[in-house]
Amino acid sequence: MHIEQLEIECFGGLQQVSLKDLGQGVEVIHGTNEIGKTSLLEFIRAVFFGFEGLFRRGVLDPKLPCSGRLIVVTGKGPRGKRERHRFIIERRHEGPGIASLTRESYEDDIVGLGGDEGDSITVEQLDGTSTDAQRIYLQDIVGDIDEATFTSVMAFGLDELHELRTLEPEGCGSRLYELANGLDRSRVARTIRQIEEALQRLAQGDDEKTPRQLLIEKRDALRKAKSDTQSKYYVGDLFIEHTKVKREIASLEKAVTNAAATESLARDALPTSQLRHAWQELSGELELLKKVALVHPDFDGWQHDIKKRKQISRVVKKRLNERRRLARELASYDTKTAVWKKRVEIKSLLEDRSQIERLIADVTRTEAHATLAARRFGEQIGLCGLTKVISVEDPQTNDVGMAVVLPEGLSLSFGPLRNRARNCKRASRAVASARKQVARARSELAKAEQQIDKDRGALSGSTLAAALEAATEQSAAIRKRISAGERLNELHQTITQLEQEMGKQLASQVMPLSWLLGLGSIFVVGAGMLLSGLLLPSVVTGPLAYVIAALGLAGTGVASVMTWTLDKSSGARLGETRRQHALALKQHKDVTAQCETLDTKISKPSRQFSYSSKEVNDSQQEFATASQTSLERRAARADAEIIRLEHMATYEGVLRSHKDRISKSKEKLKLAFSRRKKSVARWQKSLEHRGLPNTLSPSEVWRIGTHRHELLTLDDDRRRLSDEARHKREELAATSRRIEAMLVDCELLPEGTSLDQLQQLDDLLNKQRLLHDRQKTCARKLERARIRHRQAIRQLKVCDRTLKARLERWDAATEEIFLSKTDRRPYFDELTEKTRIAERTWRDGRSRFEDPTLLDTWIEQASKISFEQRLSDAETATKELRESLRIQKTRLGEIEQEIQLAGKNKSSETIQQQVAVVDDQIAAHDQRIDLLTSTREILERTRAEVARHHQPAALIEASYWLTRLTEGRYVQITTAADEARLDVHDAAGAIWNPERLSRGTREQVFLALRLALVRDLHEHGITLPVVMDDALVNFDDQRAKAASRTLVEFMNDRNGDHQMLVLTCHAHVATLFRAAKATVRTLGSKQISGDRTEGDALPQESC
């Protein structure tokens, strides 16, 4: 791409400046200082990348407008096609809003966010091949390059040239590394730096101590904390003490066992010694007893007295038994019975036996009479039909005949009942009559409804009113149709007359031929005279000519006026006639339309009501004929239909009257029902008043009334006889109750008749008399036995006194004591046995001792040391040993508890865990350091290796151009292994740091690097023009010459459309470039800086 034309409208100090016809290759623009070369450089940058950077850097004031355009020629189209295209790129900064902009508005360094107020860019294709669909963007022309790169590499002044003096990791330095087509070694540097920082953090930490030292201190602190808590022998000493205490316990248990055995021996020896003492005492007593007699003489006397007493005792016992037996027998005689007590009353009852028998016979007789009367009464009740209405008053009564009770109201008069019966009958008749009326009204209503339904069926569902209305309308339409037909005929006649009249008027409108000839002749003559007077020369005609012309004119005028007048009068008449004719035609048309409408209306069979099929056919046929007659017939039929419908309407009125009748009849029926109900209620009330059931009918009541007096008579008889029988029965019952009361008093159950009961009392009384005699005999025997028993008792008491005297004599409380004192043989035997047992017990006790001699010894020494003393000493020893054992066991338990606690004591395991964590952290820390160290080493080694063998292609390119620029004195540019600088190799192989090179050489190096970068950008499709502003100012003549030659060579070496604009203020530089066959333009100060207000363009070219 190259810039073909440059136009500045306003840009800083430049106003209306243009450079035209710039070409490819090196274009040297030579001008004096302050002519605006640097402004041109800034303008080109601004057109490509905007004014923001200039505003931000303060090169331009954002409040002032600036604008301009570039016309560029590219070798590729907007879509990358390899075609030649011309584009105009116009950028403007203007508008009312820019007055508020400041430099700070562009501080954000982001295009579009800050002061983009008023900025606009226009990119258009000048050859006109682009369309709206192919919109051109600036990036399509500029390529993928940013402003910084363009400024540093392609559009630079002397200041920017030195920006590449050091290879910073960022920016172009990074770009340079990336050009190695491989890894960005600045990234390697950053990575190594990050690793070193990480290592530094790991090695040093934030505090004075390193993280590893902190971890080790933490671990040591944890270990120390563990060691400080408890002695390490604590658990072992516990177990050792445990074993020791267990051994102590074992020895103590043995000692306690021995002491307990001694104590037990002493405890056993004490009773054994007592056994020996008891044996010795018994032996002494036995020896004493052997020396005296064992039986006393009182013992025999005692035996005799005892025998005698036993005999007397047997007699006493026998007589006592006899006495008891007689007493029991006497007691068994029950003479205090109720019969015996009531014997006087019973005797009086027995004396009334004959009277009771007579009373029984009377009762039987009177009951027979009462039964007969009751039967008659029952028969009479059955006869008058009162069986089902008479209730049994007291079914429990014994009086069978009185079970049936006549109602109390039967004795009242039956006259009111008859009135009530008549009222009921009347009410029933009224109900029947009302029912008949209702039925009749209903039947009439049904008939009317049937008729209406029949008529309504012809209406095919429509209402009667609608049908009537439809029929009326039909009739009116037919009437209208008839009148319209008549009107139509009239109009037809009128039209015919008007047409005839019009024909006549048309015929009269043509004037008569004579009139026409005359008037025409006059007109012709007049016209000829006029023409002759006007056209002929006055010489020929003379003054007559004027007369002739005037006459001609007058004649012509008269003819014309006449003709017009005649024509106008006839035309007016004809017009009037035509108007009337048209009016008549219009009316005829309206009437015809009305007829058609009416015909249509008439011809439609009414949907509101349906005729019979025959009628419909007729009407249609009649309508088809459409004659006047038929219309009149149809009108008559429609009237008949209206009449019929009106009849139907009348039926409907009748129907309503029927319904009214029905409702009235129903009301009457309801009234009749209520009256009958009241009558029945009064009838029932009357029946209830007389005690009769309310279900009785009047006929039944009539029959009852007929037999009422006879029933009352029979009822009186029945009652009288029944009362008599009841009195007899009550009398008999009173007697029977006396007998039964006696039986009850005698504790007997009343059974049978009164006579039987009297007989039972008589038998009982006789039996009591016999029993009483036997009791008296038994009492006498009992008295005799009591006397004999008392005699025997007295003898027994004498014997007892004798025995008691003997006991008192021997001072014995009991018989056993007396016998033991008078007979000592059993005691001797017992003592002998006791002595033997005591001896054996002592022997056994002694034999139980393991060492009997020890017992013998203790017994021998009992006088010195008692057995009690020995036992007390043994108990004390055992107690002391057991206390010691208990203490040891307690201690053992405590130790075991401590061991158990120790077994659960895992407190230091937490510290172990923490130590393990810290150990892991230390190991991870060390491993991390090792890994990072190894990573850093390997990166450094790799970087050195790559730096040695893999220099970037751009540096190779730069080395070539450096050789050309320095004419072989410096041959190579390389990057240092540490990436912080460039190394420049001279022809002798020496490596130079660019900082140590001379300024001119250093700028040659940087220029070579830029050329290499431009070449690289070109390979990446970026072909922007290169603009240099006095970049060769520090070169001496030789370097400048070499540089100009090299730059021209560089541009020629590149294929395609390229451009380099070299801005310089030095004439020798321009001369050198001119010598190198570059295009040189010389700018006058007048054209750029002096004539700002004139707006003149720069000279096209001045070589």
């Binding site: 087509n181 491989g182 990234r187 895992k906 892991d920």
Partner: protein, 409 residues
């Protein structure tokens, strides 16, 4: 059946660091795992009717051991003694014996072997003499005191564990282990160590019965020694062929916690597919880690797994794997927790043991300045370093880290 059971470096007071995100159920298994492993070994000894249990190396630290651990160890010793199984404490320092004896409360069935006084016992008519050695002088002294006798076994036991710095992997070869005395018939040298490669062939390495971390977890367990054991055709156990062709030296996996590393390849799977791949690999791994010894001994150990994803030299993929690793780990942990309570997925990361040689091969074919020149150079350097010292993988890990850092820059 074993005559003697050798336990190396039980270190009952040295805990295993608990991962922060491990659930409490697994942490409970992790806590006290060294002591549980020792208990399991004692049960194995009792069940196999061993005559003695030899404890050597780092057994416990008097300053760190908890009372509960002391009580438990004492209980194990007494319980074994009740079953006629004596516990032999190999004390490289004779003065330590009294200290340990007192710490444990002088339990019955506990004996000490030192370099001055051997432990002697007749096992199935064989007189066994066990010495503790720590220096060359000890071996020389033993050599002067011992004499070859029929039916005699001399066992020399030592360890390279330094109590003060037991995390250092200083497994330097003890030069005195090459002594000719150890080559004598009926002499068995056992060395408690973490590194088997640094020992002479005639010295039998005795690893720790319970590893503490991933790095030392490959070789763990105890060893059973049987004198005059009849050989079977299918017996694959190691035998002391050069000394006693019928003595058996068998490794027994008893560790309560074991670490395993799972290597799989993954090209472009997302976290769900990757977790599925890892789960399948975990299932395959589970079958191999279940101990083959008697089932009564082996309650399933807790398996802590590190998953290494080989990414086929793609640095981008490695970064992606490290990025999706947390989510993948979460999914995989959920599946493992649901399927097997014995598995804990500790880490998922790109495989640092993957060789970088493949990256370096392309360099020779590429022109200078090719896109992979730096990577190729780095890979070649790492490969060269590995060739020079094949026992370390630090260079490889560093190489991957460097490439990942550069890629993520």
């Amino acid at each position: 059946m074993f005559d003697l059971l050798f336990i190396g470096n039980p270190a009952i007071d040295k805990a295993i660091a608990e991962p922060e995100d491990m659930p409490q159920s697994l942490v409970a298994r992790l806590r006290g795992a060294p002591l549980k492993t020792l208990e399991k070994t004692y049960r194995l000894a009792i069940e196999s009717q061993a005559q003695g249990i030899v404890l050597c190396g780092s057994i416990m630290d008097p300053a760190r051991v908890s009372p509960a651990q002391l009580v438990a160890l004492r209980q194990l010793i007494i319980e074994a003694a009740d079953h006629d199984c004596e516990t032999l404490w190999v004390a490289t320092n004779p003065a330590d014996a009294q200290e340990y004896l007192r710490m444990l409360g002088e339990p019955k069935g506990l004996s000490f072997a030192s370099s001055l006084r051997p432990w002697t016992k007749t096992i199935r008519s064989t007189t066994v003499e066990l010495w503790a050695v720590s220096t060359e002088a000890d071996i020389e002294r033993i050599a002067t005191q011992s004499s070859f006798e029929p039916l005699h076994r001399q066992i020399i036991v030592g360890s390279d564990t330094c109590p003060d710095n037991d995390h250092d992997n200083d497994h330097s070869v003890q030069s005195f282990l090459s002594s000719s005395h150890l080559l004598q018939p009926n002499t068995l040298a056992v060395w408690a160590t973490q590194s088997s490669s640094s020992l002479p062939q005639h010295v039998f390495p005795l690893p720790s019965i319970q590893s503490r971390r991933q790095t030392d977890s490959l070789n763990t367990g105890c060893y059973g020694l049987t004198f005059y054991r009849p050989q079977f055709d299918g017996d694959s156990d190691s035998h002391l062929g050069n000394k006693c062709t019928v003595d058996q030296w068998k490794k027994l996996p008893v560790s309560e916690v074991i670490w395993r590393t799972l290597h799989i390849e993954s090209a472009d799977e997302d976290h769900e597919a990757l977790s599925q791949l890892l789960w399948e690999a975990c299932q395959g791994l589970l079958g191999t880690v279940v101990p083959e010894v008697d089932e009564t001994i082996a309650a399933s150990p807790l398996v802590i797994i590190d998953c290494k994803i080989a990414c086929g030299t793609s640095i981008t993929r490695r970064l992606e794997v490290n990025e999706i690793a947390p989510e993948t780990k979460r999914i995989l942990r959920e599946r493992c927790a649901a399927a097997s309570p014995h598995i804990w997925i500790q880490t998922i990361s790109a495989d640092v043991e993957e060789p970088l040689a493949a990256l370096g091969r392309n360099r020779s074919g590429g022109r200078p300045g090719a896109s992979n020149s730096f990577t190729s150079a780095l890979a070649d350097l790492v490969t060269e370093a590995e060739t020079a010292s094949p026992e370390t993988t630090v260079q490889r890990e560093a190489g991957w880290l460097a490439l990942e850092l550069l890629e993520s820059e």
